[in-house]
Amino acid sequence: MSKIKVDRELVRKVADLAQLSLSEQEIGMYEDRLSKVLSYVEQLDQVHESLGNDWRPDTSRGGPGAVLPERADKVVESLPVEEAMRQAPARIGSAFQVPRIIE
């Protein structure tokens, strides 16, 4: 099984971070499933790599000299407000309606 202790508390904590609400039965199910998957991915520990501390996936993968493409800073049309609001589950005018967060 996983070296990391995958227990109900960990599943609850991760679900919390992921903005998911799980039943007790689901917590039990994911405890088992996540434990199996994490146990499998932990084999990455075995890989010895000597890429060095300077290697970073966000900057090194494109190869030497790779640059992020840019485009001209031009104002263009965007999605009309009415179109953007059309599928809102709840709205007030041109605002998305949400539960009160400030008393």
């Binding site: 991760v14 998911l20 609400s21 520990d45 993968r61 589950p89």
Partner: protein, 496 residues
Amino acid sequence: MTTANESAQFTIKSIVDGVRSSKFSATEVAAVYLDRTRKFASRLNCNLHLDDIAALSEAKAADQRIKAAGSGNLPLAGVPVLVKDNICVKGSKTTCGSRILENYVATYDATVIQRLREAGAFVIGKVNMDEFAMGSSNENSAFGPVRNPWNEEYVPGGSSGGSAAAVAARLAPVALGSDTGGSIRQPASFCGIVGLKPTYGTVSRYGLVAFGSSLDQIGPMTTTVEDAALMLDVLAGADSHDSTSVKHPDGGFAKALLADKHGFSGMTIGIPEEFFDSGLDPEVAACLEQAIAVVQKAGAKTKRVRLPNISYSVAAYYVIATAEASANLARFDGIRYGYRSAEKNLSLKEVYRKSRSEGFGREVKQRIMLGTFVLSSGYYDAFYSKANKVRELISRDFAAAFDSGCDLLLTPTSPTPPFKLGEKLSDPLAMYLSDICTIGVNLADLPGISIPCGRTKSGLPVGMQLIAPKFNEKKLLIGANAYERATEWHKASPNL
């Protein structure tokens, strides 16, 4: 107009030729395919919601475009295309196979859709898929599993299972799929058709609902290699809406196929040892052995190569892809669009949590949690950082194999033939490991194609994968076409 049975033998090429010689119109082509769809689609559960009226109006618009531009100027004149339901078609539902987007209507067209229409093609329907492209069997859809047309007790593969099943059943000559870890190639293999995943960056992802942004690519699923090349000619190209898309250094893929006189002659094909070990199903191994013999007889040299870190590819993938997915799926929160929980008196946080938990299926929630975990404080370096370094090593392994003198690599597409519905659902790892042959190709950003290369004793399709260096789709398609010309597997279709 040709009969529905004749249309079952249509290819993109024969449709374009027919439209250009005024044998039939796009509208007539649509009518024939819609008739076939009515007969078979619900049995296979491959089609979703674009209805007949919308499909015919798309076809009529294609006919108008063809009349205005001249069919000779439109490389896909009159071609009906099925579209995986994670690709936005404006005005059409785009559900990603999920309850959370069950009624979501796309507000814009994906770039690939615009390109297809400009080339004279039209959208004839949207097809079923594993929810948010997470799956290898099309059993994770909120709208029910898709069935393999070769044997309806078996899975079509996934996540582009609807695309593969529909093309295999000849409900359209082509479907768009998306491929993050094998989701075009593996279902193509399971359904006996051609599935092409281009080099990362070749096809714009604008309008593709993101799963793993550093891995996703849209690609064509067709019945012939030439058709895949015709589609790539239209789909490929840099797009200002997708900063990861690039101008492909080549073009004219279909032309290159026609002009090619050499096929495999002069090529060296690498056979990675790790894909042919004891884990390979014996029937798949037998088909691949015959395929290698065909390739050798056609003039290629073959040589054993090694990809020393490839066994870590599934582990690296399920860290990187799930991490990216956990970020990409954070937008589905019940506020601006999509499913919102009907429960009353919820706080804001509860709206997010209930909507997401009720709207997402089991596999999606599992991957979101896995991705959240590997990015979380205390685990980021051990998992996410490490997985990216392993990804780099895998990329270098492929590069070394090509540098050792290989034009292409040849592997099975899947370690097993299609499996039965329900067979792998209880063990999360069993399903993940069915992608072992395809995942490394996505990690290394390479192009890969699956082509049919045999059948099991019970008549289920087996596919072979060819892999090329980055942006070498020309060589990839030439090799695949040469194999197809030397065999007959692509000519068969399931007896529905």
